[in-house]
């Protein structure tokens, strides 16, 4: 099945810093989503982005489907951005989301 790899696995930032999280996938995808898992375990939808670029406030994402990667940019990070960021994809067949292992982000004040 399709493989999803996220990097870096851990990231520590000072409040106000910018960061880029990467998601590589091993095959063509029909869906790609970025999630933020907060300290209570909830999965918050950030972006639905099988291709192209989207922005939402301090967050933006770009997916280059032909090169099989997606990037999540966080600008001017805040302590509330802390948590785990997951990339998940739906491959060519079926409709199940396959998740990466996540990036654990800690923003220090």
């Amino acid at each position: 099945g399709i493989q999803v790899e996220q990097s870096p696995p851990d990231l520590i930032l000072q409040e106000g810093a910018n960061s880029t999280l990467r998601c590589n996938f091993s095959d063509s995808v029909n869906n790609l989503q970025w999630f933020h898992q907060n300290p209570w375990g909830q999965l918050i939808n950030l972006f639905y982005i099988p291709s192209g670029t989207k922005q939402n406030g301090r967050l933006s994402a770009t997916t280059v489907a032909t090169e099989r990667y997606s990037l999540l940019y966080i600008s001017s990070s805040q302590t509330t951005d802390s948590g785990v960021y997951f990339c998940a994809v739906v491959g060519k067949y079926g409709n199940k989301l396959v998740f990466g292992a996540g990036t654990i982000l800690r923003v220090k004040s």
Binding site: N30, N31, Q33, F35, W40, G41, Q42, L43, N45, Y48, P50, F86, A88, V90, G94, N95, K96, L97, V98, F99, G100, A101, G102
Partner: protein, 113 residues
């Protein structure tokens, strides 16, 4: 904004007992899913459901698991005889179309003792 809801938020059960986890998907969505996340691990797909039948299931979704849409709003996951290794956060999700964004509920944390 419409959201997926799940009950209970936390369930504690004894090994061998049956549990039913409940979900109310977003009202006009047609595709429904269950995922689970064992503590500290990645989120894993269990099953997808469309048009009142299972459309896809993972190897985890064995005969101990079943899903049902008993009425027009609820979607349930039943585990017939729980094992210690079933302890996890269980997420329900729904989407409007097959390849649309999937929206996740807040999860049910299941603890099997």
């Amino acid at each position: 904004e419409p959201e997926v809801t799940q009950t209970p938020s936390h369930q504690v059960t004894q090994m061998g007992q049956e549990v039913i986890l409940r979900c109310v998907p977003i009202s006009n969505h047609l595709y429904f899913y269950w995922y689970r996340q064992i503590l500290g691990q990645k989120v894993e797909f269990l099953v997808s459901f469309y048009n009142n039948e299972i459309s896809e299931k993972s190897e985890i979704f064995d005969d101990q698991f079943s899903v049902e849409r008993p009425d027009g709003s609820n979607f349930t996951l039943k585990i017939r005889s729980t094992k210690l290794e079933d302890s996890a956060m269980y997420f329900c999700a729904s989407s409007l179309e097959r390849l649309d964004a999937q929206y996740f509920g807040p999860g049910t944390r299941l603890t099997v003792l």
